[in-house]
Symmetry: C2
Subunit: 401 residues, 2 copies
């Protein structure tokens, strides 16, 4: 994986951002964010599959079903605008319209995002009052302020940037994200915003979905999918480089740069997972196909017993094998092999004499990899997970509505 | 639900049981158990669907594929005999054969059960040495000793019994179970043994599976399905009452008595769940069909965020609605209604003004019910779950292999 810098959403040409304190958060922290591209950008978006979708998700999907040329995204933190009925939808529309008016943009050129408490009405007076100031604040210097303004319980801001030198010129990617699944009492959401000055073809959405599946959808902190999860890519073409004009190897390079940035952002979410003390990669290989590999990896990565063992620094392979068996994927137990890093613990379904001191050293690390080989085929998948600690329970139990 | 007494597996006519200290458990507690019916019994069994199945599960399935007339079950605790390869299977066969020999029974008339650490060889010398004494100990007085001998991390023994007066005479049910999902480091298993002196028809298995689905399969402590889960019903016909000779209303009465016993046993597992301080019923109604109702209920019942909120005594309905939405079942969010006991918190997908003092009182109870109405159809299902506490993490993290 290549080196990712901390440039953020304003790193690519033509993007500015802003953040202000609108007074939505009780803490008084910055809670209203704006991302803007002077040149309208092509938008690619992936939303939560939760049946209960927040108003901003419903609104964005509605806008994007009509056109995918977007100039800005306005995001509030501190309130998810979820389970808020018709009023909530009307409020999401208002947020977009107010921003469009303030930026002198056409209707349906601004998307909306929200993250925070579920089931409470948005304080629209506060948001309405803050939008003019928000627009005034737009600057190429505000990547970090933007990153901060979309945070809820995050303890670190999450930004990243990368550039690629192509035969047609330099292209840049920047991004920012917050949260992880549902990571706080009533707090909903993984939000991710990626920007690029590369020109992308209309059909890039399928490829973007693949990248999301292997980055933001390949991490788990608590297995809960929120009502607000959103990942948006804005491509404004300001680099004058068009993806389809590049050579095959250059395209692969560009794709992998974008993927590395997305993975970098996703891994920051795991590291910042509630109460997390470990980041563990669960790699499942030897599967019949990628779907099954992912299903087994996710079953292991979301098992409370497995995650408690990570926290307890216990090389408890029985739980890992059992979670794999409970995943719903059919496989013969006698073909399983399991490794902690390069140390084998199970081969052909039975335990091998493991180097216990080596194992004990591995599980004490802050980051390590577990590999499960199903012995059935060529497919593999990786999921990154955190451990389940006292602090996870504390954070999620002690907050009272 | 009718009153369940504490009679245990020896309550029905013709059953005896035993338990001894074979030295498998490090603690030195009783760890080898035997259940015996002098008159061979018809056996109905449901096993784990985990792809990784312990040797005793594989052996029992093999035996029952040949014949379902069983005289005894021999069970050890302290070692799951799982992930033990060919040697493990041979050990399960030996346990059965040794017991058959000692009881002068024909081959394939004894089933085997194991629960405990995964991936360790059974100490067969200890088991072999203990079986003669185990058989000598058989007595109608040993229901509690049997219950104790199958325990691992359980803090209470789990027994139950019920009798039904029919027009053809009295019939009895007894039972015992242990553990819950995978409830301890490396510890595998929910084991349940039900006895009855009722004569049952060959085709009772389908009905028994339904009862298991709504009792033992309708509880969750940590969502993990173990390699050893087993539920066995032995019907020896010693009451001389044949189910098919009873009237329709009597049959319904008998069926509900058996169900109440199984539910009683299952609920004791939830109450004894690791670190549990709450028992919460998640009832999902208004579903299109039972499968979907169960899927939504299980999604809520296994959500860490929901379970942390139970522990924190927080009436956090946003998490419940979000977990339902993430279950994979398709439903419109604007038809949802949610109740804590009889207090509505959501109607038509939007929050209602809830009586907060009433809600606060309900979530402080040790037992309460949450009802989610999908508003789509006539089907419903219930799942019983516990909360996620500091002690759960403690128990599952601090043990080191």
């Amino acid at each position: 994986m290549r080196q990712i810098e901390n440039g953020g959403v304003c790193f690519p040409k033509g993007f500015t951002a802003a953040g202000v304190k609108a007074g939505i958060k009780v803490s008084g922290n910055s809670d209203l964010a704006l991302l803007y591209s002077k040149e309208p950008a092509k938008c690619f978006a992936v939303f939560t599959k939760n049946q209960v979708q927040a108003a901003p998700v419903l609104y964005d999907k509605e806008v994007l079903s009509g056109n995918n040329i977007i100039s800005a995204v306005v995001i509030n933190s501190g309130n998810a605008n979820a389970c808020t009925g018709d009023q909530g939808y009307a409020d999401a529309v208002s947020m977009a319209e107010l921003t469009e008016r303030e930026l002198s943009l056409r209707r349906y050129s601004v998307l909306v995002g929200s993250t925070g408490v579920i089931g409470r009405k948005l304080p629209m007076e506060k948001i309405t009052a803050a939008i003019p100031e928000l627009v005034k604040n737009l600057s190429t210097e505000n990547s970090e302020l933007f990153a901060k303004s979309i945070c809820t319980t995050d303890t670190i801001i999450k930004t990243g940037s990368v550039s690629v030198q192509t035969s047609m010129g330099e292209i840049r990617f920047g991004g920012s994200c917050k949260g992880s699944g549902m990571i706080h009492p009533d707090m909903a959401t993984m939000l991710a915003y990626i920007t690029t000055d590369l020109r992308l073809p209309e059909d890039f959405l399928a490829e973007f979905k693949d990248l999301v599946n292997e980055s933001f959808n390949a991490i788990t902190v608590d297995g809960d999918m929120s009502t607000n999860d959103t990942c948006i890519l804005l491509a404004n073409g300001q680099s004058a480089v068009f993806l389809n004009d590049l050579s095959i190897s250059e395209r692969a390079d560009v794709r992998s740069a974008l993927f590395d940035l997305m993975k970098h952002l996703a891994l920051q979410i795991v590291i910042d997972g509630e109460g997390a003390t470990k980041k563990v990669e669960i790699e499942v290989c030897g599967a019949r196909n990628k779907t099954e590999a992912m299903q087994v990896a996710k079953s292991i990565a979301t098992s409370n017993l497995v995650k408690c063992a990570f926290f307890g620094e216990d090389p408890n392979w029985g739980r890992i094998v059992s979670s794999a068996g409970a995943s719903g994927v059919v496989f013969p137990a006698d073909k399983l092999s399991l490794y902690f890093e390069d140390v084998p613990v199970v081969k052909g379904g039975v335990p091998v004499e493991a180097a216990l001191d080596k194992l004990a050293e591995i599980v004490k690390r802050k980051e390590y990899k577990i590999s499960l080989d199903l012995g059935l085929g060529p497919a593999m998948a990786s999921v990154f997970t955190s451990d389940l600690s006292y602090d996870y329970v504390k954070i999620n139990a002690e907050y009272t509505t």
